[in-house]
Amino acid sequence: MNDVGTYLYAVAPEPGSPTPEGLTGVAGEPVRTISSAGLIAYVSTVPLEEFGEEPLRRSLEDLDWLGRTARLHHHVVEAVAEATPTAPVRLVTVYNDEEQVRELLERKHDDFIEVLSRIADRQEWGVKAYVDPAVPPPAGGQGEAATKSSSPGTAYLKKRQASLRTREEEWRKATGRAEHIHDVLRSVAVASRRHHPQDPELSGRTEWMALNASYLVDRERSAEFGRLVDSLRGEGIDVELTGPWVPYSFTAPIETVEGRAPDDGP
């Protein structure tokens, strides 16, 4: 029984690039490469007392641990991607030993090549659209009329319903505009993927997040894409751009885990 595992970060085509000097992984161990079938895997050793199944179930609940690990993982992926087209691997993918990683490269060679050719010379851009919900519904108008013709209880309910309707209406408008933005950006992108809107507690903004998406864009069109994002801002809608990212969102399944569709869950 081993007490260490092999953590896999990314896969690149050979000759790829030498592992950047002094690059360390999620557990502080140096990042090294495993080559097979014309592919290079970037890995590092991790202790299973931290990266085994049971410890992970607990630590994934710990935002500090998750944040630290995500940043270290991202750092390795970016360092590798700087020099060569890179297929990033899902956060926390741990094998028992090097031999299994070698087998993976052989067995999944064609799939990795397919992903790598799809993302070569392309970058992922993140776009979030925030809508400032319009001022609350007017206190007068309908509300007053209702007060005259009915009991205070009914008036309150009617007012509340009207306010809910207004909010719904605002939300519908906001999503309509988000769809428009999405369509415009999609016209310049090779592919797109929607993420779930972020919780305001995490996004740090109070406005509604009406769009949270990623776009895979040809490197030579990135300036055009940026200008397009700028042009979509205004009239109570803010559009935020992040990136360029290593195309994390466009590595779509090499191998789906049976019975699980991460994006179509209930």
């Binding site: 956060l91 779930h196 940026g226």
Partner: protein, 76 residues
């Protein structure tokens, strides 16, 4: 979260957002749902952990709002 991120065209020409400016939540959007998922003789893959049951995940993904958007799309 006081700093505004660089704007579109500027960012696109300048290249890369410095690592310390990458918001954790944006990173997690990608790292928890993206990247190549492999199977085989793994010790563990995050894809095998039922993330729906992880409270943190629930916080990150406000599922209800996402449903609203997808619903609105279907009406188009």
């Amino acid at each position: 979260m006081t700093d505004r991120e660089p704007r579109g065209a500027v960012l696109a020409t300048e290249g890369r957002l410095p690592p310390e400016r990458v918001a954790l939540v944006d990173l997690l959007d990608r790292l928890l749902a993206g990247g190549v998922v492999v199977s085989g003789d793994l010790v563990i893959s995050i894809a095998e952990i039922d993330l729906v049951r992880i409270s943190l995940r629930a916080l990150i993904m406000s599922v209800r709002e996402a449903d609203t958007i997808e619903g609105a799309r279907r009406h188009d």
